[in-house]
Every structure is written in structure tokens, then in C-alpha cells.
């Protein structure tokens, strides 16, 4: 009789034992435990070799008085300012263009989306040369051709962050386009027909109908690009190594430097938690606004 029960139990839950249980163990070992361990590490000094040594709040105190850490946060915020609005605007523009010109736009959609799937390493290699700070640089060649001064770009502490933002805009706006395109498809055609009857031109229709109706998309895209911008690392590592004069030392680049070049893993964990808190706050704001959006409807 007992044997029979086991068989029944197995036929109902066997698939769970076989596949969910290993995944749960994996989840605990490689996700949950590291998150908790990381929190403990913020209270320790650990130069990779030997055991972590408990030092209390020292790392957290150090963070609040670390001017470079705050500069890294400021740089990241500045990067977001350069990056978020252009990515959204360009994505929306491309979506509108594809929408207006329905026939044969598949290839254009593909072209705009191409950078999204390309690695930062590949794009950075090309970017390094397009924005080379000498007269042989691609952009500088055009500037000198029309009689403008060649720019230093990546070697100029005021321009470097903008060049990195440009790279990210190029890389990401294809996915913003897809979100906006999906949003445009979901706007009922009747609105446009009504506007047409009222004699509204396309400019007015866009600002009075399309733009406001895309509000949930604007919001969603703003949140994901903001979260993405706070995690920027690859281009700062590849193109500028955080320089010149720490102008492109972003939060994650600083974390990497402190942790794996400076071998201060305890302090780097503090930086990781700071990043986590920032992202958490953005996500909570997103939830709040999206909920309001739903109740409004």
C-alpha cells in the first residue's frame, strides 16, 4: 500500500523534485547566499587573500567621506542626463518614421536594432576611432573640413562622458524604438480619424493625441534607460579607463577599480549596495507611478 502511495506521489511531484529542487539549490548558492554574503562583506576588510576581517561600519563611513565615490555618482547622474532624453526622443522618432512609412520598413527596423545586439567591445573599438582626438579622427576630419577646430573628445574631461553617452544612445535607441512602436500600434485608430475630421494637422495630432497616449511607454522607457545608465561600465572601461581626470569614473567602474584593481572588496561591496539602493528606489517609483496609471484607467 505504501509503495502505491509513493508511486502516486512521484507521478504528481516527480517533475518538481527532478527540476525545481536543483534550481532552488542553485538559486540559494549563486543568488541568495551571495546577496547576504555581500551585505556581510560591507562590514569587513578583505584584500582577496586570507579571510575577511570584521571592521564594523568603517567602509560605510569611508563611503560618506570619499569624494571620489561621490564624484562617481555625480558622473553617473551626468551620464544619465546626457543619455536618457536623447535615447527616448530618437527611439520615438524612429518608431514614428517606421509607422508612417509602413511598406518595406522591416529592413530599417533591423538596421536600427543592429547595435542593440552588438557587444560594447565591438562598438567601442569603432567609436575609439570615430571620436579620435587627433586630426585623423573621423569626426574631426569633418570638423576641419568645414573650418571648425578639431576636438579632443575622449581625452577632454568635459567631452569624454558625452562621447560615451553618444555610444550608449547609438547602442540602445533601437530597443526604445521597439517599445514605442508597440505603443503606437496599440493606439486605437478612431482617435486619429476623429482628429482628421476635426481638421487637425499631423503636428497637432502628434502632440495632442499620440504623445499623451504614449505616457505609460514614456514612463517605462524612462525607468529602464535610467536603470541601464546607472550600470554603465563597458564603454568607460574600454575607451577611457575612467579618465581623463576621473571624468568617466562611473559607479560601476569605480566599484571595479576598488574591488579588483585596488583589492578592497569590502569597500567595493559598499559601492555595490549603493548602486543597488539607487536602482531599488527607481524601481519603487516605477511601481508607484504604473499603479496610479492603472487606477486612472
Amino acid at each position: 500500500m505504501k509503495n502505491f502511495n509513493f508511486k502516486k506521489h512521484w507521478s504528481r511531484y516527480g517533475i518538481i523534485y527532478l527540476f525545481l529542487v536543483p534550481v532552488l539549490i542553485h538559486f540559494c548558492v549563486f543568488q541568495l547566499y551571495p546577496i547576504l554574503l555581500s551585505f556581510y562583506l560591507t562590514f569587513t576588510d578583505w584584500p582577496v587573500i586570507g579571510e575577511p576581517k570584521f571592521v564594523g561600519l568603517k567602509n560605510w563611513m569611508q563611503f560618506f567621506s570619499d569624494r571620489l565615490a561621490w564624484k562617481a555618482i555625480w558622473n553617473t547622474v551626468l551620464f544619465s542626463l546626457y543619455y536618457i532624453l536623447p535615447t527616448m526622443a530618437l527611439g520615438l522618432l524612429l518608431a514614428l518614421l517606421i509607422q508612417t512609412h509602413k511598406k518595406g520598413t522591416g529592413i530599417f527596423k533591423g538596421i536600427y536594432f543592429l547595435p542593440v545586439v552588438t557587444s560594447f567591445v565591438v562598438i567601442s573599438g569603432i567609436w575609439a576611432w570615430i571620436f579620435k582626438g587627433t586630426e585623423q579622427g573621423f569626426v574631426n576630419m569633418f570638423l576641419t573640413a568645414v573650418g571648425l577646430e578639431p576636438q579632443l573628445f575622449l581625452s577632454d574631461s568635459r567631452q569624454a562622458l558625452m562621447v560615451l553617452a553618444g555610444l550608449s544612445i547609438f547602442k540602445v535607441c533601437g530597443s526604445t524604438m521597439i517599445y514605442y512602436y508597440a505603443g503606437l500600434q496599440s493606439i486605437p485608430q478612431e482617435y486619429y480619424e476623429a482628429a482628421k475630421i476635426d481638421g487637425a494637422n499631423s503636428w497637432k495630432t502628434f502632440w495632442k493625441i499620440t504623445f499623451p497616449l504614449l505616457l505609460p511607454i514614456h514612463f517605462y522607457v524612462a525607468v529602464i534607460t535610467t536603470i541601464g545608465s546607472f550600470q554603465i561600465f563597458d564603454s568607460a572601461f574600454l575607451l577611457t579607463s575612467g579618465g581623463p581626470d576621473y571624468a568617466t569614473t562611473t559607479i560601476v567602474y569605480y566599484l571595479y577599480q576598488e574591488g579588483f584593481a585596488g583589492l578592497r572588496l569590502g569597500y567595493a561591496s559598499v559601492l555595490a549596495y549603493v548602486l543597488f539602493f539607487i536602482i531599488l528606489v527607481i524601481s519603487i517609483i516605477q511601481r508607484k507611478f504604473l499603479d496610479n496609471e492603472l487606477t486612472y484607467k
Binding site: S11, R12, H26, Y33, T118, V121, W129, Y220
Partner: protein, 272 residues
């Protein structure tokens, strides 16, 4: 005529942006066929001025290190892609269709952990890998990527829309979970599983930060880290671009054949 041209402006803009977006890729492609250490002039003119050559590609393929990087990238991409597709499918099924203790709780705890950025995990995982003596092996690049909660979420959402009657009829006929999953639900979920696979491929193939930290010797580098090391060390533009082209080809092919799955995946992630 003038008015007609004016009406064509969206199309002209589309073409203009297409040229702008393709330019970096064209420069990369042309640059890979030009033999020069540092770059001079307009790459579009090189097509006519310079002798185009395959030397950069020859150099790369004569270089055992480079072949090794490609092989490493393939290993740390293909295994996670297959595994992520499989686990997304079966866990998506379990969370959508099976009833068991604390199902919703387990699922939402997993989903909540997505909020934690990968950058927070790299340091504590370093300790875990160090204790397992996995540093500078493939394991740190493969094992954490064997499944992903977002893929599970995609498949779960999809399977929840499938009508219950489908499975119930099969269970009546005496089928077990495995038959229901493999014979009925899996074939229906192919598109969403393909989406999971394409995203996993791009994620693994393009990842830089993780292998940068967990690989310490050149022969363990994947292509991204190898190229990055060339970018700073070698300073040979043509070879760099040839390497970039090779690194770009697999993503391009995947993109070419699975474009609609990318678009679907992005739309799906918007549902979160």
C-alpha cells in the same frame, strides 16, 4: 514634383538614419580589410585608395590565441543557451501548471531578486568561486548562467494563457507530466523558448564584466575580453577591426534569423 519630394521626407529620414546607423559597421568592415597600424583618412575612400587585403584575417587565424578565444566564447555561450532554454521551458511549465506548496511565494522571491544588479553579485560570487577553486576556469562563466528567472517568467506567462482542456484530455488518456510537457505544451511554446534562447545568446556572447573578473590568464579569455586586451595593447587598427568583425558575425547571424523573437522578447519584458 517638388511637392512629391516633400511628401517623401519620412522616407528620406529613414534612409538617412539607416546610413548613420550602418556607418560604424561599414567602417569596421572596410577597416578589417585595410592593412595599417594607425588610421589615416576617410574609411569610405580607403575602398578606392588602399590595397584591400585579407592579411588581418590571416594574422588572426594564424594566431592560436585568437582561435582559443573564439572557442572559449562558444563554450561559455552554447552551454548556457541550451540550458536556459530547457530550464525556462520546464520551470515555466511547473510554475504555470503544477500545484505545490508555496508555488507563488517561491516564484515571486525569484522574481524579486532580479532587482539586484549583477554588479552586486560579482564580488560575493568571487568568494564562492574561490572556495570552489573555480577562478580561471569555465565554471564561473557557465554555472551561474544555467538558468535565468526572466526566461522562466516569459514561458510561465505564455503557458498560463494555454487552456487547461489541452492537458486534461491528455491526463484522461493516462499521460503523465512528462508526456504532457514534451508532447503538448513544449511544441506550442517554441516561439517563446526561441526568444529566451536569443536573449541568452546575446547576453553570454557579449558579456564583458563577468569574464573580465573570473578569468585571469589569456588562454581562458572569451572573445570580448580578448578583443578588449587587444584594444589597449596591440594598437593595430586593421587587426582590431578584423577581430571585431569575427566577434560580430555570430550575433549578426542570430539577429538575422531570430529578429522577430528579439522584438517579441522586448515586448514581453515590457509586460513586467
Amino acid at each position: 514634383m517638388g511637392k512629391k519630394l516633400y511628401r517623401q521626407w519620412p522616407y528620406i529620414l529613414l534612409v538617412f538614419f539607416a546610413f548613420l546607423f550602418l556607418s560604424p559597421f561599414l567602417i569596421m568592415l572596410i577597416g578589417s580589410f585595410v592593412k595599417m597600424r594607425t588610421v589615416v583618412g576617410n574609411p569610405y575612400l580607403w575602398l578606392f585608395q588602399e590595397n584591400l587585403t585579407l592579411d588581418n584575417y590571416r594574422y588572426i587565424f594564424a594566431n592560436g590565441r585568437f582561435i582559443q578565444w573564439i572557442a572559449n566564447s562558444l563554450i561559455i555561450t552554447i552551454i548556457p543557451v541550451l540550458s536556459q532554454m530547457f530550464f525556462a521551458a520546464i520551470l515555466g511549465y511547473i510554475f504555470a501548471k503544477k500545484r505545490f506548496f508555496a508555488r507563488e511565494f517561491i516564484f515571486w522571491v525569484m522574481m524579486a531578486v532580479i532587482m539586484v544588479p549583477n554588479q552586486l553579485l560579482i564580488i560575493p560570487r568571487y568568494i564562492v568561486f574561490k572556495n570552489l577553486e573555480w577562478i580561471n576556469t569555465y565554471w564561473p562563466l557557465i554555472v551561474p548562467e544555467l538558468w535565468g528567472v526572466l526566461g522562466v517568467f516569459f514561458v510561465r506567462q505564455f503557458m498560463m494563457t494555454l487552456p487547461k482542456e489541452l492537458e486534461e484530455a491528455a491526463y484522461m488518456d493516462g499521460a503523465n507530466d512528462f508526456t504532457v510537457f514534451f508532447k503538448i505544451l513544449l511544441p506550442l511554446s517554441k516561439p517563446v523558448i526561441a526568444t529566451v534562447g536569443t536573449f541568452a545568446f546575446i547576453g553570454c556572447w557579449n558579456d564583458l564584466l563577468t569574464p573580465l573578473i573570473y578569468t585571469t590568464s589569456e588562454e581562458m579569455y572569451p572573445l570580448t575580453v580578448g578583443l578588449a586586451s587587444m584594444l589597449t595593447k596591440e594598437g593595430n587598427f586593421g587587426v582590431e577591426m578584423a577581430g571585431s568583425v569575427i566577434s560580430f558575425i555570430p550575433t549578426f547571424l542570430i539577429f538575422l534569423f531570430f529578429q522577430k523573437y528579439f522584438v517579441k522578447g522586448i515586448a514581453l519584458s515590457g509586460l513586467k
